[in-house]
Amino acid sequence: MTKQQKKWFKFASPQAFYPLAGKLIPIFWVLTAMFGAVGLWLSFFVAPTDATQGEGYRIIFVHVPTSWMSMFIYLVMAGWAAVGLSFNARLSSMMAQSLAPTGALMAFLSLWTGAFWGKPMWGTWWVWDARLTSELILFFLYLGFMSLQASIDDPRRADKAGAILALVGVVNVPIIYFSVTWWNTLHQGASVSLTKSPSMAMTMLWGMLLMAMCLWMYSIAVGLTRVRAIILEREAHTEWVKQLQEVKA
């Protein structure tokens, strides 16, 4: 292993990561505020009124970012869980555990804002359509992961059981993503495509992307904050935790 690699692997230990995370958190809060301010300004004051949906379409600026994050966080969570499972790295499992509540929150908000968008545009809060149903399953997968981990007393065994659940659940993410093309859904097709040129106004697209960046930075900030609490809870018996400034004082 080179010196550079060793430097990075050092941060796989909770003891080294705890202070590093503490230093990184403020940076991600500043980024969250910056992207959020510009994103909200574009969402409300620059993006034009929609021709068919009037001002009601502005829900897109929270609905699409929360939906993207709910899927993306799941993939990252499952990734950390897999690393924790295969390398027996406890910090990775803690990262997975830390991301689950935020992912669940994003899935919930995606469903909530979707309902508030569906009611005026489709005339209903909810339909059992492929996109909506698979997103609901994602929400339940997060809840299942969290309750499974909480129900097993030994944290390392809880990590393993949770990781298997998370990995099996990964199959749901492409189902959500492609549900609008695979099935005939009430839900509209993808808002943003990598293969086609954007069909919406550039300011709308930028508003959406910046709001997504805001939530991305938020998720990192919150994930790091929560993992610090988890580290202390799970490493409570260790000498380094007892020697921490905030514990000794």
């Binding site: 004051f45 993006a47 034009p48 001002e55 929270v62 935020t102 908000l109 005026p120 609490a229 202390l232």
Partner: protein, 62 residues
Amino acid sequence: MNWHSASEFFAMGGYALYVWGSFGACALAFLAEPLLIRQRHKQIVRTLRRQTAAEKLEMEHP
């Protein structure tokens, strides 16, 4: 600029309930989550402090 007055902005072209219901729920969630985590962190630090204090006491008066 899309709006001519503040009341027009808050009315959201008749979609006020839906737009503010969505943005409001998100704002609430993104304010509450960090506060809850901070609470959790404080809680564990408090427990750890009590533990170390108890251990110290035990060392001094065995």
